[in-house]
Amino acid sequence: MLMSNVRLLIGTRKGAFILTSDGTRTDWEISGPHFAGWEMYHLKGSPIDPDRIYASQTSGWFGQLIQRSDDGGKNWEAVGNEFNYVGVPGTHKWYDGTQHPWEFKRVWHLEPSMADPDTVYAGVEDAALFKTTDGGKTGRELPALRGAKGNLWQPGAGGMGLHTIILDQGNPARMFVAISAAGAFRTDDGGESWKAINRGLKSPYELPDPDAEVGHCVHRIAMHPARPDVLFMQKHWDVMRTDNAGDEWREISGDLPTDFGFPIQVHATEPETIYVVPIKSDSEHFPPEGKLRVYRSRCGGDDWEPMTKGLPQKDCYVNVLRDAMSADALEPCGIYFGTTGGQVYGSADDGETWTAIVRDLPAVLSVEAQTLP
C-alpha cells in the first residue's frame, strides 16, 4: 500500500490547492493557489480517471465557471459556465414566507460519475441538480427534483444549496441528494422522479411541524459504497442514521458533546466507523470549549470517542464546513479535514493522531482525497 499516493483537492475562499504525498502520508507537496482570488467551492476527480478533475470556480462579480483538468490539476481548461433551469423556473419559499423565483447563483458540489469520466452531476444554489455528459461543456437540469415540493423549500442563512450528491455504484438508477434547507431526497429511476426521505428527522427549533415532509436543514450525508442502504447524516442539530435508504431515520448522536456540526465521513473500509466534528451550536460556529475534536464511532453511532492527539485543545475557534472532510482508501485509513482558519489536518491512522499538513490557507470550503496508484 505504501506504493500508493494520496492527492488532496482543497477548495478555499481564495483559490484551490493540491496537496500530494506518498502512501506514508508524512511529507506533503503543496501546489497553488490555482485560480487565485476566486472562490473554489469544490474540486473532485473522476473515480475511474483520477487525473480528470472538475472544479467549481465562482465569484460574486463574474459568476460561475466549471474548470476541468486532464492531468491531475497541473493544467486547467474552463469548459462551461451556463446553468439554465428547465422551463419556467417557478418559485420557492423566501425568507418572509412569500414565493420567490429560482435564481442560479453558484455550483456547490460536483460529483463525477462512477462509469463515465465525461459525466458529472452538479449541485447548485438555488437548489437544483444538473448533469453534464460532455465533460462539463454543457449541462442540463434534472428538473423533477424541484417537483418534490420545491415550492416549500426555503434558503437557510447560507443559501439554498444542493450540497450533497451520493451515487450508488451497484445501482446507477439510484441517487441521493441533500439540500439546505429542504432535506434529503432519493431517486430510483435516474432522476426522472424524486422522493423526499426525511421521515424521522426532528427539527423543533427550525420546523415546528414534526411531520413536515421537507424543510429540514440537512448539512451532510455520507454512505459507504458497500452498504448503499445505510446513510449517515449530520443535520443542523442531530446526527442521524438510516438502514433503509432514507425511508426512516433514527438519531445516533449518543454521547457527543454537541450534535450540531457540518461534515460527516465514513471510514474507507469499515462501514460502521464514522467521523463528525461537533460544533458548539447554530449560534456559535466553533468547537465547544475551544477544543478541536474529531469524534469517531466504530459502531455506527451512539457511542463516540474524541480524537484529540495533534489537534489544538485550547483557544481554537474555527469551523469545519460540510464539504471539508474526506477519507483516502489506504490501510490504515487517512482522514482529512480543512477549517475556516485555513488549516488542513490529516490523520494516517484512522483518526488516532493528527498533524497539520498546512496551516495558513484561506478559509477551506472543501477537501477531497484521491488515492492514486
Binding site: 482570488g37 462579480w61 463574474f62 459568476g63 465557471l65 451556463e82
Partner: protein, 98 residues
C-alpha cells in the same frame, strides 16, 4: 480600434495581456464592444453580462472618460474619444466594501 481594460480576474481567465484592442464593425456601442470581446474570448461569455438576457452582471461597471456608463443603454453610441482609441473603456468589478 477600441481599447478595453478588463479587471484582473477576467484578464487572467481570458489569458489577455494588458489592454484588449477590438475592431468594431457598425455602430460602436457597449453592446457591440462586448459582442466583439466575447467573440475574441468565448470564456468571458456570462462573466460580464448574463447568458440569455445579456444584462450587465450586478457587480460589473463600465467606465470611460471619467463617466460611469454602467446604467446607460448598451445600444447607446460610445463617446468619440473611446471610438477613436484615445481613451479606453474600463470594465470594472464593483467595490465590495469591507
Amino acid at each position: 480600434m477600441i481599447r478595453v481594460v478588463l479587471p484582473y480576474h477576467l484578464r487572467t481567465l481570458a489569458g489577455a495581456d494588458g489592454e484588449v484592442a477590438l475592431e468594431i464593425e457598425g455602430p460602436a456601442t457597449i453592446a457591440a464592444v462586448l459582442d466583439a470581446l466575447e467573440a475574441r474570448y468565448p470564456v468571458l461569455r456570462g462573466t460580464v453580462r448574463e447568458h440569455g438576457t445579456l444584462k450587465r452582471r450586478a457587480f460589473i461597471r463600465f467606465f470611460a472618460c471619467k463617466e460611469d456608463l454602467s446604467n446607460e443603454d448598451p445600444g447607446m453610441a460610445l463617446l468619440e474619444a473611446v471610438v477613436k482609441g484615445e481613451e479606453p473603456l474600463f470594465i470594472v468589478g464593483a467595490m465590495a466594501g469591507g
